[in-house]
Symmetry: C2
Subunit: 363 residues, 2 copies
């Protein structure tokens, strides 16, 4: 099979030239800012794409779950950060096994959580590298800056734990109404985290690693003085939300979904064979606007059921049964996670497959 | 591993006693109504669960996509209906291969679509069994009742096609505000489809198979005179939306998600390790109300990111880091599709695994 035209639908396409440009652009930003880049591999969950990021100069990869790290470690990746508050002895035993062959660092935002991991490492005569999560405005997980020194002291004194730094995620940038407001979130994210790290060091606590990250805020957060690392994820593929947020142009979106119009029952409605099990029901950010856009047309995917994408056909446009379209998805990271493999393309040529090796690894 | 307490989190649990009751209850309704039951296997995508449905008396299974049928055919299921408007010669060749070993029927709602399949069957000297989809109010796919005779005539005369009946899906029941309104949708669904079938027969067109279906409308639609088959899917597991719609009680929900509280950064906020890659972002029906409910508590999952479920902790409730909870998901069918296997449990005991064999089969 050599042409996109011959692919079964729906298929998730990744343009490898756009992918390479996205990887190089973010790496250049990090190089110019003088920070390490540690991409969040949740977006692709793929060894092929992760290797491109490492070859371009990334320090290592970021993941969330222990089972994701197990997949990437088995595939030869040797520097992994789990930016997630992992809990419990069972997970700790798996992390201990991983740390035999990987430079492993994990997140923590509670003394109880860090203690549950440290106890297992201490019993083995080892120490787990931990970065403390700081809440710089997303209000999801993380310690508030005003409580950071106290919690860091509690984590640092735990047996089996080596506190090595702090990290944050300025995810509130996804709700910012303009690119200027997104950049403001990024500057705040970088400044507050760097100040928190400085406060820890003043209190005699270790905080050498100061890590920010999200695709929209990456450029503005990584240039804050004191930041040492950035962890964007979505930039590698980009998506409709990143275009709306001003993170990229539509031409920078490497991922699209090839679909077939299977029904055209009314002038203002057509249905494609890509539903929520292909595109996901994730909303567009920063404002709701359907579930995807037809590339090169004004028509959007207005409703989704599991295997149906309902197009609200714009006046003057027409979709005939059997026609193939490409759809720009709202959120690339969850699209990857619905498929075992994506199709690597260069323009209209099929170049190969991208394995989503850590697909579904949530434990 | 024998206890739920020992499972890693997040894990998707299915209580096999509740599952058996759900299967038996729907089969009894169909038996009493004198119609065939052909459950939509999109909900479980699993041979183990499909076999339980067949053993209880189901006529066969319903699926949407060709690749789903290929999985179930390879596992020995021999009577499959693809309730979906499939298009094109490539898919038709796969359907032709399937029809060598399976009693196969597919949906169509356009002459162009049916022609694209029939051409391949005609060239092989075969005929594909086709049911025409009728739109009884969902306004997704399907021909409107007033155009049904004309389109059925166009489909029936195609080479390689054997028109055998009509089908519909009263999915608009998911938006009905009360159980009484849901039942009204079901009665309308059954009555309009039966009338459409009668009109076809009056015009000399074949319409012996008259198939309705959706979990909320099943009971009211299948009792309409003239209906011969019902295709509910979600009833097998049930979910929070079905409870809200009045289709079942919370005790009838076989599926729950076992999760761990990994962060409790504020009195009104706790975070579990089940995010949108475990629960999906599908909304609750018929009205939006978060992304899941904590079983036995008043607290709901108010926000989701990919690996975080943010609980909006109700006054008087408290969640501590490390605590395990069960979450009732909004939509069981998309939860199954995010996981390679579910865990079969009986109360607090682990009984085995349920393979989601057709997970991700969207083509």
């Amino acid at each position: 099979m050599t042409d996109v035209e011959e692919l079964p639908t729906p298929s998730v396409l990744v343009d490898v030239d756009v992918l390479a440009q996205n990887i190089e652009r973010m790496q250049r930003l990090a190089r110019e800012a003088g920070v390490a880049l540690r991409p969040h591999a949740k977006t692709h969950k793929s060894p092929e794409v992760g290797r491109l990021q490492i070859e371009a100069g990334a320090r290592g990869l970021t993941l969330a779950k222990t089972s994701e790290a197990e997949v990437f470690a088995a595939l030869g990746f040797d520097d992994l950060f789990l930016g997630y508050p992992i809990f419990g002895a069972d997970k700790a035993r798996r992390l201990l096994a991983l740390s035999d062959r990987v430079l492993l660092t994990v997140g923590a935002d509670s003394v109880e959580g860090a203690r549950s991991l440290g106890a297992v490492f201490a019993a083995a005569g080892r120490r787990l590298r931990v970065r403390m999560k700081v809440d710089t405005g997303l209000h999801r997980v993380g310690v508030l800056p005003e409580h950071a020194v106290r919690m860091a002291a509690g984590i640092a004194e735990l047996p089996g734990v080596e506190l090595v730094g702090v990290f944050t995620h300025g995810g509130q940038g996804y709700g910012a109404p303009t690119p200027e407001e997104v950049a403001k979130v990024g500057r705040h994210e970088g400044r507050v985290l760097a100040e928190t790290a400085a406060a820890l060091r003043e209190a005699g606590l270790p905080a050498a690693e100061v890590s920010v990250g999200s695709t929209p805020t990456a450029a503005s957060a990584m240039t804050s003085p004191g930041v040492t690392e950035c962890r964007p994820g979505t930039y590698v593929y980009n998506d409709r939300s990143q275009v709306a947020l001003g993170s990229c142009r539509e031409a920078d979106c490497a991922m699209s979904v090839l679909a077939t119009v299977v029904s055209a029952p009314a002038a203002d409605r057509a249905v494609v064979d890509a539903g929520s099990k292909t595109l996901s029901t994730d909303p567009m950010r920063p404002v709701d606007d359907g579930f995807g856009a037809v590339v090169g047309r004004r028509t959007r995917v207005a409703r989704l059921s599991e295997e149906h994408g309902v197009l609200a056909v714009e006046p003057g446009e027409r979709f005939r049964v059997g026609e193939r379209v490409r759809i720009l998805p709202n959120h690339a990271c969850v699209v990857s996670n619905l498929h075992d493999e994506l199709v690597a393309v260069r323009g209209e040529r099929v170049e190969g497959r991208i394995r989503v090796a850590a697909r579904g690894k949530v434990q």
